[in-house]
Symmetry: C3
Subunit: 211 residues, 3 copies
């Protein structure tokens, strides 16, 4: 049977492709040029991890290793191909959302682990995972002049957050394998359920408008 | 009598609460969901210090220590409570502006000190303090799609800037206690006067419009 | 004859002035106040280098050294003077675009060199140069609520990108002098040609609109 670290690695690859795809289509929607679209693909896939590494004071792995870059480049190429074929934004479709969920889960868990190994406090650990999982998307929406969707809609960062709290509870008590495994499965299950059921958090507004 | 470092610490706490409050209401105004509102509270209170620590190449204190996080969480909780009770944005009121001024002053001074102790040049020291004092607010406005108010209105960052120049002049000449004390009092006085008198800087415009 | 490092240093100075100028006029266009305009000048000139240094985990040179700051301050002063005299945005004129091209080339090459010396992978090296060359402009456009022009128009970051690939091919094979020299001249030639010929990259759009 596959070990949890193998599962995480696979989910990480899937996530890079899904995030690159999402970045490319965000760029196309914003009418960026070819370079802008590619940059958005790279930043969406790798931005969360880069910010994570900056926060724990190390040179971003995405800039030193080779595998994440290659996978992301493939994802961007695939996205441009899909755009040529379908001529429409496929990021809202269920298959893409499902592979995106794998990425969110794997990225979050990696962030929690890096945080715990860097001696952060509980808040820092959870924050690092949430940033790793959602930071890339946030950066790309910021660059295209949007209020990051992660802040205002959908049950997305919340899955990562709940996973983080579970990680805090289990890490140290159980083996790292078990703790990361439970966290990964929980985030994935939460996110997939949220996609199916259309969960979202309560929203605020100073005046009771419909929008 | 309280030492200057005790005063600074108290002002820092007050500032975290004021900044968290301001972040929460910015989030509510932007119709974010519960998580988005909380994230904005955290980023407004802690973002300036996080950027400061990244710039001098250390792991952000907010992610390793425990006290700032706890105070900020209390501030967010208080803000949500105040929102439930008053149902309106209280960040424009004088009491909130005054406790915010305490935060601006304490955060700025902390930034100047960290800059001086990290061997930055004069520009770097002043910049670090201004970023510590105003960076959190800037990040939260950026995330909600606004041009940071610190860049275009009010006599706010200017107080921090003037304090920084005073710090440069006094640091090394007098004891750290005296130098930080004078700087803190000056920023606070400037900001409180600016609130009372409605000071602002000259603005530019390529065409002489009224706005 | 001047060595390549002397040429680079001169181009770097010219670039700081050009970038500061561009930042100041972006700030004036966005109706910022005096402080905001100055901050935008500093960030446009120094922001790319600051992000570069953060990425390779060192304290930004702009905050420790003295020469870049001074040159940038002069550039800001010059820009405010030019604004007083001409009362219009001169950043779109050919002379400014040409000195800006010198900056883009010098900044990019510096970034490639820092990347190579920090042990980044090829992607990281190219990215570091592109960020050094275009990051300051991107930050200032982000702060004034615009979608960064580098992502959507003009043949600008592309010059840096092509230079980066050339640098990857030549670095290590030839002396650093030759490699950086060829790269610098290539970026400069590409950018100047792009200005003259009005080159741009293909743009995408999900619906075939005219804009």
């Amino acid at each position: 049977m596959a070990s949890i670290s193998e599962v995480l690695e696979a989910a990480n690859c899937i996530g890079l492709v899904a995030f690159a795809l999402s970045g490319v289509f965000k760029g196309i929607n914003a009418k960026l040029d070819l370079l802008g679209v590619s940059i958005l693909g790279f930043l969406t896939a790798l931005g969360g991890g880069i910010v994570r590494d900056i926060l724990v004071n190390s040179v971003p792995k995405a800039l030193t290793g080779i595998s994440d870059i290659t996978t992301t480049a493939l994802g961007i190429f695939l996205a441009l191909l899909l755009y040529k074929v379908f001529r429409k934004d496929i990021t809202g479709t269920k298959p893409v959302k499902i592979i995106d969920a794998a990425g969110l889960s794997a990225f979050s868990v990696t962030g929690f682990l890096v945080g715990a190994q860097s001696g952060l406090n509980g808040f820092g650990i959870v924050l690092l995972g949430v940033i790793t999982g959602t930071g890339g998307g946030l950066i790309s929406e910021l660059l295209t002049g949007k209020v990051p969707s992660v802040l205002k809609e959908d049950f997305y960062a919340s899955c990562s957050l709940i996973g983080g709290i579970l990680f805090l509870i289990t890490y140290g008590k159980f083996s790292t394998e078990v703790s990361t495994g439970i966290t990964f499965v929980t985030i994935l299950t939460l996110r997939l359920t949220a996609i199916l059921k259309g969960w979202r958090l309560p929203r605020f507004g100073l005046y009771e408008e419909r929008d």
